[in-house]
Symmetry: C2
Subunit: 293 residues, 2 copies
């Protein structure tokens, strides 16, 4: 498979907050875009800009040279790729499939193996950077798979992200993303605990942030999410429910590999508590609500 | 008290890794420097540059216009300030005392109150930025006390740090520092868990760091301490034993204020485990050793 603008057909499945922006970049990048989504409404503007609609995943697969997917949960990925009328059943040999969903490393390996049996190279390529990173084509993309396959689709990935790194073989993109989420999970506890401590101690939260953001306590979360917390803004950049999904996968993998993750376990328990209070649709910074009550 | 170079005598007690650099900056800044330390050896080079030795804290206090202290533990602060021959017993009314040790907020309030009774304005002004921040006069200084006192010594603090913020009344500098340490504590778990997860998953740690450092998982610890961990460098920028001291104070304060700090508690337990294995003199990044075994 060699990419050629105006010739290569890129199939795109999953037009959520992330996928919609990403599919748009592919179209703007000069590729023919075929789209599939459970609800067609989310693709109407892309269709108006020249994208073509596919009725089913199989239909999408049959007509695409490269397929990019970004859906919700591992079960969605499994159904999309391995289901009866799924992508692997429809794709022509040589078609490259790239799953950008944050999903299970074990599932990524399984899809890569089943793909290989059918002559279909598969990459796992989850992203970090949220809705804003997707909009601004500034995502960090962590890729697992064969180098040759990776190089063949790199120009497409470069339409979506800035930091694009082949982390290793199949599943390694997902593992890198898990490590990313693990670092975030405990870090969010630190941010929330620092803020609520400061509040109870009677400090001015803005002054506190000004003292601690730039030093050894500094983090992306402290710089970007703490101000939202202080403003009472719990709107989702990244959904609590999706973060829970990611942490659950990470916990399972850590357990399987016998990696000790007490911080992750504690963070997961707090986020579960948050979701149980009906905050699954909030952004991850809503963890603060668990502390400040 | 009005600062005047070549006239104002600054007393400095505590010539450890931090204090030694800081006292040097005061001397270079053009002030008369009087020093006191438990062991005189650590001050010899400063004496050679024109500093004058004080035999006791009381002696230091009697001859100083401003006094800066940075020692080890709250009990050292208590003895230094409130002991029989301590600073408060020796200082002339109007002398400003600045404790830059990371210590207990409650003790800071007590010292400020006892100081006020004797006409001695006291500030708590712990710092963040480590040995490097002290050397490069780039510390973040979190100050608690009266604004007038703060303004009167600001030029001195500006010789030591870049980010200098009055956080509130007595004890508020210590509270801000506690919030800083709370954010760091959980964050370090996240960094170590992410790294050990990546290692066990077979990822190249350098590639992993390159993917996750710049995004939502990014932090000062990930950028500055993770590379040391990967290099097997556990030398202290900041001692485990001192971090334990700080976390213990934060835990006590959080308990007193009824602030929930599960992340901090978990981190403290892991650092205690690390110290029990004889790693108290390591740097805080040595937490990784607890995970990777």
């Amino acid at each position: 498979m060699k990419l050629q603008k105006g010739h290569t057909v890129v199939g795109f499945a999953g037009l959520g907050v992330m996928g919609h922006s990403m599919a748009g970049h592919i179209l703007e990048g000069g590729y023919d875009l075929l789209i599939y989504n459970r609800s067609k409404e989310k693709g109407l503007d892309l269709l108006a800009c020249g994208a073509v609609w596919a009725e089913t995943p199989k239909d999408l697969a049959q007509k695409s040279d490269v397929i990019i997917t970004i859906v919700g949960y591992p079960k969605d990925v499994e159904e999309l790729y391995l289901g009866e009328d799924g992508l692997l059943s429809g794709a022509r040999p040589g078609t490259v499939l790239i799953d950008m969903t944050t999903s299970s490393p074990a599932l990524a390996v399984r899809i890569a193996e089943e793909g290989a049996e059918k002559g279909l190279p598969v990459l796992d390529a989850p992203v970090s950077g949220g809705d804003r990173g997707a909009r601004e084509a500034a995502l960090s993309i962590m890729v697992g798979g064969e180098r040759e396959t990776f190089e063949s689709v790199r120009p497409l990935l470069e339409l979506l992200g800035k930091k694009i790194v082949l982390q290793g073989g199949p599943g390694c993109g997902q593992h890198a993303k898990m490590a990313n989420q693990i670092a975030i999970a405990s870090g969010m506890m630190g941010v929330c605990e620092a803020l609520v401590y400061g509040k109870r101690a009677g400090l001015d939260p803005e002054l506190l942030l000004s003292s601690i953001s730039g030093g050894a306590a500094g983090s992306w979360s402290l710089s970007n999410l703490a101000p939202r917390i202080l403003a009472g803004n719990f709107a989702p950049g990244f959904f609590v429910k999706h973060f829970l999904k990611d942490m659950k996968i990470a916990l399972e993998e850590a357990d399987r590999m016998d990696v000790r993750v007490p911080g992750l376990k504690q963070a997961y328990a707090l986020y579960e508590e948050l979701a149980a209070e009906g905050c699954g649709e909030d952004g991850t910074q809503a963890l603060y609500k668990i502390y400040d009550k």
